[in-house]
Every structure is written in C-alpha cells, then in structure tokens.
C-alpha cells in the first residue's frame, strides 16, 4: 500500500543560543511554512527551543549500514584525535 500521508520533513530544534540545532523528529506537511508550523506545534510546546529548521526528508543523503565498518572503525584506535588533553575553562558552556 502506498503512503497516503503528506511529505515527510525532518525537524531540528536549537535549544539555546550558540549550540547546534538537534534532530528531534519529523512531521508531515505539504509545504515549508506548514512544516515549520507543525514542527512548532509538535516539538516546541514546552519551551524546548529558540529556533527551528525543517528539511524535506527526501533531500537528506544518509550513509548505509554496510558502510559502518569502513566509515567509522578506523577511528577507534586513534585516541590522539580526541581533544581530551585540553582543560576547558570554567566559563565555557555547551561543549
């Protein structure tokens, strides 16, 4: 059976100034304005955000599960790439 719902949009919400937009879920909508409004109504009713992005789900290109080994495992043994050797100043938030 074909999907009779409206097109899917992925929703990203920014919780505070200066931090990245985070994926929170998806909504159905016929156009961008409706997607923004639906995202507002579904995902920000409890003071979750200050900014919303919506992206048509079919425009997102994703890696495939088969790529997991080739893509991500080589970084497992390269701890020196992690910035864990720095001290973070007390005043810095959201890292």
């Amino acid at each position: 059976m074909s999907d009779t719902q409206w097109p899917l949009w992925e929703v990203f919400v920014q919780g505070n100034p200066g931090i990245p937009h985070k994926h929170v879920g998806s909504v159905h909508a016929t156009d961008a304005e409706m997607a923004i409004q639906n995202a507002r109504d579904v995902y920000t009713r409890r003071n979750e955000g200050i900014s919303i992005w919506v992206v048509p789900a079919n425009t997102i290109t994703a890696s495939s599960p088969e790529d997991q080994g080739a893509f991500f495992e080589p970084s497992n043994d390269k701890a020196y790439r992690h910035p864990t050797f720095y001290k973070i100043p007390d005043g810095v938030k959201y890292i």
């Binding site: 719902q5 909504v27 159905h28 156009d31 409706m34 409004q37 639906n38 109504d41 009713r45």
Partner: protein, 252 residues
C-alpha cells in the same frame, strides 16, 4: 450602570468568546485531518481556554459576588452568555472551521493589539500575553485560507461556501452599546469602529489572494451583546457544562 458593572459585562464578552471558540475547536480533538494539524488546532484551542480563564477570573473578581471563573463558565445559561455569535457556530467541515477561525483571528488580532493600551492594567496585561498567541493563530489560519482557497476545485468551493454562510454574522463582531461607550470614554475598552477598517482590509486581502470572492449578504445578524444567540449555543453549553452540573463541586 456604573463602571464596575460595565467592566464585568465587557470582560464576559471577551472571556465568553474565547471560551466558546476554544470549546468549539476542542471538538476537533482526535478528529483533525492529519495528526500534526490536529495538534496545532488543539494548541490554539488551549490558548483560548487559557485566555478565557484569565478574563473570567478577572470578571469574577470585578463582580465581587464570590463567584469563580468556573462558576461563570459552567453555571450560567445561554442568555447569560455574551460570546460573539460567530464563535458558537458549528464546526462543519474543515473549511467552515477555518473560515470562522480566520475571521475571528483577524478580529482578535486588532482588538487585542488595541487592548494592550487599555487603562485597566489587568486587561492590558492579558492583552499583551494573548496578542502573541493570536499572532500565531492568525498566521496559521491565513496559510490555510490560501491553501484551501487556491487549492483544488473542491477545497475552493467548500471554503467559498463556508465564508458565504457565516458572512451574516460579521455585523455582530462590531456591534457596540452603552457598555462599550462608557468604557471607551474611560479608556478601558476598544472602540470597535477604530479596528473595523483594518479588519476589512486584512480579510479582503487574504480572501482575494486565496482566489475567493468577498461574500455579500443582506442578512445582518446581531444580538450577542444582549445574550441573544443562535440555536447552536444551547447544545454546546449542554455538553460543556454537563459534568460540572451533574456533579456539583466535584474536583479531581
């Protein structure tokens, strides 16, 4: 009639309209055309009920007869209700609900904008809070008027019919009486003549942009200021007040 009585009456008019349209919208809960729009519409319904709660709480306080907002909402009969006739009209199909909502949103957008300058501090404070909500309501309904009006032949026809059917209730929106006059002189109420042009302009622009025709009608319905309602309000109140009247004083 002194200022206190006039203010009580005025607060009932504002509060009852919010309560009744909020209740009407809540009837869509679980029946919206799509999940997201169902949530959106019920959000809007909740805004109205919240606004009604503020206004009726203040009304009860102004009245000074030991009644609460709940008493006013659940224990008054049809003829004591002062909501605009437009707000009590049945939901019909989604086009009817949106046409009704759009006309009311444009109305409250300008009304509450003006009420922010009310010399009554409580009314002004409620207006500031509500106007932010209303700004969103209007944005939401306006988009739907464009979508349905300029959508398919069927959505276009349904929306046109919806506007045609409710157009006779427009005069009731701008009706004024001695209550208004007294409070306008005190700087508390809004002179509805002063927002009428803005309402006409915005409504006409959106209707035309949505490729619809501005309705005309020779029938002019009024009466909400005196509690004269359509046949629909009694049924709505029967449902809305049923629990509170069946179990007086019940709490949870």
């Amino acid at each position: 009639m002194d200022i206190q009585q006039a203010k009580f009456e005025y607060l009932l008019r504002l509060g009852d309209s919010s309560l009744i349209i909020g209740h009407r919208l809540s009837e869509w809960c679980g029946h919206g055309p799509i999940l997201e729009e169902d949530i959106a519409l019920i959000n809007i319904a909740l805004d109205f009920v919240g606004n009604a709660n503020s206004l009726l709480t203040y009304a009860a306080q102004v009245e000074g007869k030991n009644r609460t907002a709940d008493d006013l909402a659940y224990l008054r009969n049809e003829r004591d209700y002062r909501n605009l006739l437009l707000t009590e009209l049945p939901n019909g199909d989604y086009a009817c609900t949106l046409a009704r909502q759009f006309l009311y949103d444009v109305y409250t957008f300008y009304l509450y904008e003006a009420l922010k300058n009310s010399k009554d501090d409580t009314i002004a404070a409620i207006a500031v809070k509500s106007h932010k909500e209303i700004t969103y309501h209007l944005r939401h309904t306006t988009e739907w008027i464009y979508r349905l009006g300029d959508g398919t032949a069927e959505s276009h026809q349904r929306l046109q019919t919806a506007f045609n059917d409710i157009w006779m209730y427009v005069p009731d929106l701008f009706d004024m009486d001695a209550v208004d006059q007294l409070l306008i002189n005190e700087g508390i109420a809004v002179d509805l003549d002063s927002i009428k042009n803005s309402w006409n302009k915005r409504v006409n622009e959106v209707i035309l942009e949505a490729t619809l025709l501005i309705p005309t009608t020779a029938i002019k319905q009024k009466g909400s200021r005196e509690g004269k309602h359509s046949e629909h309000l009694g049924f709505l109140l029967a449902e809305m007040q049923c629990i509170a009247r069946s179990y007086p004083g019940a709490t949870w």
